[in-house]
């Protein structure tokens, strides 16, 4: 059982503080924050999520820059506490619509109300937004989501996709909209985070997809829902080593290494027709998580060329090629590359007519940053960078620079080919026809090219 739960801001202020067992001294939040802040003298190492100080275990997760912390004197399962902390953050988000410091501060009474019901005397009672609804009486004070930096995977739909009502994903499960009626709608998001490592010769060393089918339901009356996935979906790769690519490519079937499901999901017919049936609880939750190491076509190819031009100079040429269809557009692309620490000056040369591109040399950590607002499929972009060094070069500068890393978001595209074939909602009346949003998005998790 946990003893205390608290949320700290980035500066270490208590936003909420709840003591459940009274067996840990009051100053624990401060002790915790000081320890996390100064974990190592040089401040370079991040504190691990679990540590013990004088017999007190501090367990924390970072969510949108806030620290969600639990303390205990007992030898608890760490994954339980960490999962709980994430879940508390999610429940709060469900209620407030937006989770950030501002919304927490404005709604701290509601948060206390939630905490009272989620945990009693240190034992978890319920983290189901649905169940909690009947115990919660505070009305959320909605903060303006538009002005605030958005968060969570769902938020990425707000930009660049005009069809989607921006407020939908950030609205509270309990707040009433103007007019008093709730809009009947359900969101199903297929989110794939991809990790690819290219060797210096462009060969793919590792690739992995971590996918989630996320659901957020605003349907009243808890109708049953059926979600059909690809017919040829296969789970598990038998005895073969998962990195054995031979024979798996080309067939077109989606092969998951492994997956897990939300507890509301019934798998009765899953083996027969790859259909998940569930009664979605309120709030946001993952219907299914999956993992794929089957080979897939990486959306971007990165080409890096480093040339020593003169004694004190070198040139770096970065080339990015989008390998997805031209109907798809990637957005918020950032490419980063550490440069030799002794680099003194950097000159950028963008391709002629470049729009929405920005370059920057971060002096403090000697990194070049190239950001592009969007990249249309099948296009190619190049950046030339001239580096100046104070003294003559010794050794190979490719050993002092790189690797190139890339972050991006590609809406309406997922490399695994996993699809929601249909989304069936049990009808209550003939006229009942709620909005259904099925969306796909791909995000870079760790997208790295060595040089």
């Amino acid at each position: 059982m946990i003893s205390q739960f608290f949320v700290l801001s980035q500066r270490g202020d208590n936003i909420v503080f709840r003591d459940y067992r009274g067996d840990i001294q009051k100053g624990s939040a401060e002790i915790f924050f000081r320890k996390v802040k100064f974990w190592k003298e040089d401040g370079k190492e991040e504190a691990p999520p679990v540590f013990n100080l004088d017999g007190v275990n501090y367990i924390h997760v970072k969510v949108v820059g806030l620290l969600f912390v639990a303390t205990t004197r007992n030898n608890l399962p760490p994954s339980l506490v960490l999962e709980l902390l994430q879940r508390v953050a999610r429940v709060i988000k469900d209620y407030l619509g937006v989770l950030n410091e501002d919304s927490l501060r404005k709604n701290f009474v509601l948060v206390y109300e939630l905490l009272d019901e989620v945990i009693d005397f240190g034992y978890v009672q319920s983290t189901s937004t649905e169940v909690l609804k009947s115990y919660i009486f505070n009305e959320p004070i909605v903060v303006d989501a538009g002005r605030l930096p958005s968060l969570g995977p769902a938020a990425l739909f707000m930009q660049g996709n005009k069809r989607m009502p921006g407020t939908a994903v950030t609205k509270s499960v309990v707040a009433h909209e103007t007019g008093g009626t709730k809009r009947e709608e359900i969101f199903v998001d297929v989110i794939e985070k991809i990790s690819v490592t290219f060797s210096s010769s462009g060969y793919i060393l590792t690739s992995e997809i971590d996918g989630t089918i996320q659901m957020k339901s605003y349907l009243s009356g808890n109708p049953e829902i059926r979600v059909a996935l690809n017919d040829d979906l296969t789970i598990g790769r038998g005895g073969r080593s998962i990195y054995d690519y031979s024979g798996s490519s080309g067939s077109g079937a989606v092969i998951l290494d492994d997956c897990n499901f939300h507890e509301s999901v019934h798998l009765d017919s899953f083996d027969v027709d790859r259909t998940l049936s569930l009664v979605p609880p309120d709030g946001e939750f993952p219907v299914m998580n999956y993992r794929i190491t089957q080979e897939f076509k990486p959306p971007f190819r990165i080409n890096t060329l480093v040339e020593e031009s003169e004694h004190f100079k070198a040139e770096v040429i970065l080339k990015i090629r989008a390998e997805f269809p031209s109907s798809v557009t990637a957005n918020t692309i950032v490419i980063e590359m550490p440069l030799p620490t002794y680099t003194t000056r950097v000159n950028f040369e963008l391709e002629p007519g470049a729009v929405g591109q920005r370059t920057d040399f971060k002096e403090s950590n000697k990194r070049l940053e190239w950001s592009l607002k969007k990249i249309v499929g099948e296009s190619e972009h190049t950046l030339r960078v001239k580096l100046t060094f104070p003294q003559e070069l010794h050794g190979n500068i490719t050993k002092e620079a790189g690797p190139v890393s890339m972050t991006f978001t590609i809406p309406m595209y997922n490399p695994s080919g996993l699809q929601v074939k249909y989304l069936q909602i049990a009808k209550k009346t003939k006229t009942y026809n709620p909005y259904r949003w099925v969306r796909y998005v791909t995000q870079a998790n760790s997208y790295v090219a060595r040089i």
Partner: protein, 826 residues
């Protein structure tokens, strides 16, 4: 309104101000208390919010207690909740005022609305005021029988709260029996789960004093109860499932069919999206199959994919927790992840704590087939701009090299690191090359060639410098410039701030002198002179010792400082297999993350489900000379001590030099100290010491007293009697043995000739257990202390296990004599 935002930004918890604001609020509350005008509730809400926001940031608002209570007469549930929260926080410190709240809470406990009843009951039980418990018993009893499940749920936990305020009141009211009845009959799964948690805690705490409670606790693990829970498992919330699974993990099924039934029933829990459920299930699977080796292996295969999914699908924090568990599993079964090594490649955006664990995984899974790939990947990280990461990666390469038979390629890689000319890379690599040479002296030729090219000016880190100096001394005959490099280092003696480096410098110049006297004599003189003038005690003592040794007899000096040496075959494991077993028993707990059994980091009363039958874990050997560390740390220190890495040994050495042993007036200072130093040196550096040295060493270490090695002339060692006939038969001894928490542990293998004394790291502990045929069992006893020795034979090696049992705290230093030891090893 916006109460908290502004004020909070200025007021940090450390400097609570706001006295003015508090009295302001007090005034306003007073005005509102009697008011019945419309809108009062809204005004109250704002005020209450203000009070709670002050409370949150640490401003003491206990002074408005009576006003809050006066304002609490309301039907507004939001107001009530805020009031309850406030009261719960301050009642403990205002027991008299808390009485004021009893009235309205009791009234609310009889409210029509079950929500209000539940809330009131919960707050009533949360007051934590001992002299109010009499008011709790009635409402709790009613609450447990309430028609509404919410109220029963609250009441079930309420009983536990009552128990913590006043155990006797709780037991006298016979609440545990009521909980048990509810647990076995209630329709609502959450009520059942709460009853179970409360009962587990109450009976767990009562069990030490009450036999009945101990029996009741056992019945929770009886077949009917377990089956009752298992049959309802799907009704429980995911969190309650974790509690049930934890309970089932302790259940001992009667036969293998039962085990399979349970596992089949729960297998789908492995596909749960909640990591806590998956890990709880895994723990249960592992525990149930412990006795069935084949099935146990299948379990490893089965849990692999779900665990890897958790690593990649969860938050970095969750990955960290799961990776810690993977690491524990892979130490027991290295083969399970050996083909999945690519999963442990680091992603560039992961936090350092995750990367570090992944590196540990990569070292653990490295075997003949994948080492090449892994080392190639690690070399990429070593060139990384992220310095801590680069360092860890190089260390990982080194660890792999030390555990492999074929290190050919790895040595080349390591030497390439030295050519990268990055200071931190060079530093880490030097330390590794030194360790490698101690294990594979055959590589000295290749290594020395590269190391010789490194300018000592480019090496600044003490550990690296010490490693370089060690190599210069050790391979003085192969390195042309060795005497001259050492000489220049000695010239800069005063600028060398690290005592560790100066100590190594002394030893290195001695070795160099013994091999190339003419070239080194001058430098040796300078070094000894500088050493004798050194302000650091250890450095001074070592210089003096060398000086006298040389004066006495150079041949003897050579035998002490630079004897022929054997390669280290296995570096000591940091942890004994028993500690590892204990951590495995505590799978799915913080022990796994900390890599320590729970007795090392929790107080006794918080150990929860992992109880221990003895208080040995807490034992404190309060000797006069040792630094007063808590036992847990000492145990750890001892474990660390087993790491035979030169530098670390030297560190410990340095750390202990403050202890009085070194300055003890009772014995002839310098000689003894020097001797002890030499012994440490002998053991820690490089070679099998003469036969009689390890004996005393081993005894000290076995005792885990953390003593300096010098056989300490303790004033009066308690008379110990050797009982040649074992009092226990091997089986019951074995049983007792397993129950004991570990004070310190070390495995020593001694070959029959008793020549070498190598700390042995045992591989799989189950293999160890299987080959464990007790041969002899000895016991010493005195009123304070019992020492048990168990001698076993495995293959050609004899194993001597030693257990220490303290009857009570022993203020005197216990000293075992060499003779008795010799008797032991015959």
């Amino acid at each position: 309104m916006a109460p908290p935002a502004q004020s909070q930004k200025s007021a940090s918890p450390s400097q609570p101000s706001g006295k003015g604001e508090v009295s302001d609020v007090k005034m306003q509350l007073r005005q509102l208390a009697g008011s019945r005008s419309p809108g009062t509730d809204d005004a109250k809400r704002e005020l209450f919010k203000k009070v709670i926001s002050y409370m949150t940031i640490g401003i003491d608002v206990s002074s408005v207690f009576s006003e809050m209570v006066m304002c609490s007469a309301t039907s507004d549930i939001v107001l009530k909740k805020m009031c309850y929260l406030y009261v719960g926080n301050y009642a403990k410190y205002n027991p008299d005022l808390a009485l004021l709240t009893i009235n309205f809470l009791q009234r609310d406990c009889k409210d029509e609305d079950p929500m209000i009843r539940g809330l009131a009951l919960r707050s009533l039980c949360s007051l934590r005021v001992a002299n109010l418990v009499e008011y709790l018993v009635g409402p709790l009893g009613t609450g447990l029988k309430d028609g509404n499940s919410y109220v029963r749920m609250v009441a079930a936990i309420g009983v536990l709260k009552l128990y913590h305020i006043s155990a006797s009141t709780c037991m006298d009211a016979d609440f545990p029996a009521m909980l048990k009845h509810l647990m076995l009959n209630d329709k609502d799964a959450q009520v059942v789960a709460n009853c179970l948690t409360s009962l587990q805690e109450i009976w767990g705490l009562e069990a030490s004093t009450s036999e009945e409670a101990a029996r009741e606790r056992e019945t929770l693990l009886s077949k009917p109860v377990i089956y009752y829970f298992l049959n309802r498992i799907k009704e429980f919330s995911e969190w309650a499932q974790c509690i049930v699974l934890d309970l089932v993990a302790k259940y001992v099924p009667s036969d293998s069919n039962e085990i399979f039934d349970v596992m089949n029933l729960l297998e789908d829990r492995l596909q749960h999206a909640n990591g806590a459920v998956v890990l709880a299930t895994i723990k249960m699977f592992l525990q149930l199959t412990l006795s069935m080796t084949d099935v146990h292996q299948q379990v490893y295969e089965r849990i692999k994919a779900p665990l890897l999914t958790l690593v990649s699908s969860g938050s970095p924090e969750q990955s960290y927790a799961v990776l810690s568990h993977l690491h524990l599993l892979v130490m027991r079964a290295p083969f399970i992840f050996s083909s999945d090594y690519k999963h442990f490649y680091c992603q560039y955006n992961e936090p350092f704590y995750v990367k570090k664990l992944k590196l540990e995984m990569l070292t653990a899974v490295a075997n003949e087939s994948n080492t090449y790939d892994i080392v190639t990947e690690l070399c990429e990280y070593a060139a990384n701009v992220d310095i801590p990461m680069a360092r860890e990666s190089i260390r990982a390469v080194g660890k792999i090299a030390l555990q492999q038979y074929d290190v050919n390629a790895i040595v080349d890689r390591l030497l390439q690191f030295l050519e990268m000319e990055k200071e931190h890379v060079t530093a880490e690599t030097l330390v590794l090359v030194k360790d490698l040479l101690r294990k594979y002296p055959q590589w000295s030729h290749d290594c020395i060639a590269v190391v010789g090219n490194i300018s000592s000016k480019n090496v600044q880190e003490p550990k690296a410098k010490a490693a370089l100096i060690w190599m210069l001394g050790e391979y003085a005959q192969d390195m042309q410039d060795a005497p001259y490099i050492l000489e220049s280092l000695i010239e800069n003696w005063d600028e060398e701030h690290s005592a560790e480096v100066r100590l190594h410098l002394l030893t290195a110049i001695m070795k160099c002198f013994l091999r190339r006297p003419p070239e080194t004599q001058k430098a040796l003189g300078a070094a000894l002179a500088a050493g004798l003038a050194d302000f650091h005690q250890d450095v001074h003592d070592r210089a003096l010792f060398y000086y006298r040794l040389l004066k006495y007899n150079v041949t003897v000096a050579e035998r002490v400082v630079d004897p022929p040496k054997q390669a280290v075959s296995v570096f000591a494991d940091t942890q004994s297999s028993e500690i590892k077993d204990r951590i495995f028993d505590e799978f799915n707990s913080l022990s796994v993350v900390y890599q320590k059994p729970s007795y090392m980091f929790t107080d006794k009363e918080h150990r929860g489900p992992f109880e221990f039958s003895e208080e040995l874990g807490n034992l404190s050997i309060d000797t006069e000379l040792a630094d007063n560390v808590v036992p847990a740390q000492r145990v750890e220190a001892n474990d660390k001590d087993l790491l035979l890495s030169t530098s670390e040994k030297e560190d410990n050495h340095g750390a202990s030099n403050n202890s009085s042993a070194y300055n003890a007036p009772s014995y002839d200072g310098s000689r003894m100290v020097a001797a002890s130093q030499a012994q440490q040196d002998l053991v820690s550096l490089d070679q099998p010491p003469p036969a009689d040295v390890p004996a005393s060493l081993a005894i000290d270490d076995l005792l885990g007293l953390g003593l300096p090695v010098a056989p300490s002339p303790a004033p009066s060692p308690p008379a110990l009697k050797l009982n040649a006939k074992a009092v226990l038969d091997p089986n019951s001894f074995q049983q007792k043995w397993r129950q004991l928490p570990l004070a310190a542990s070390q495995e020593i293998s001694m070959n029959p000739q008793g020549v070498s004394c190598i700390v042995k790291s045992s591989g799989s502990s189950s293999a160890y257990a299987r080959s464990f045929h007790p041969l002899h069992c000895f016991r010493w006893s005195s009123p304070e202390l019992q020492v048990l020795f168990l001698r076993t034979k495995r293959g050609r090696a004899f194993y001597l296990s030693c257990g220490l049992y303290f009857n009570r705290l022993c203020p005197n230093l216990v000293c075992l004599r060499d003779q008795s030891w010799k008797k032991m090893i015959e």
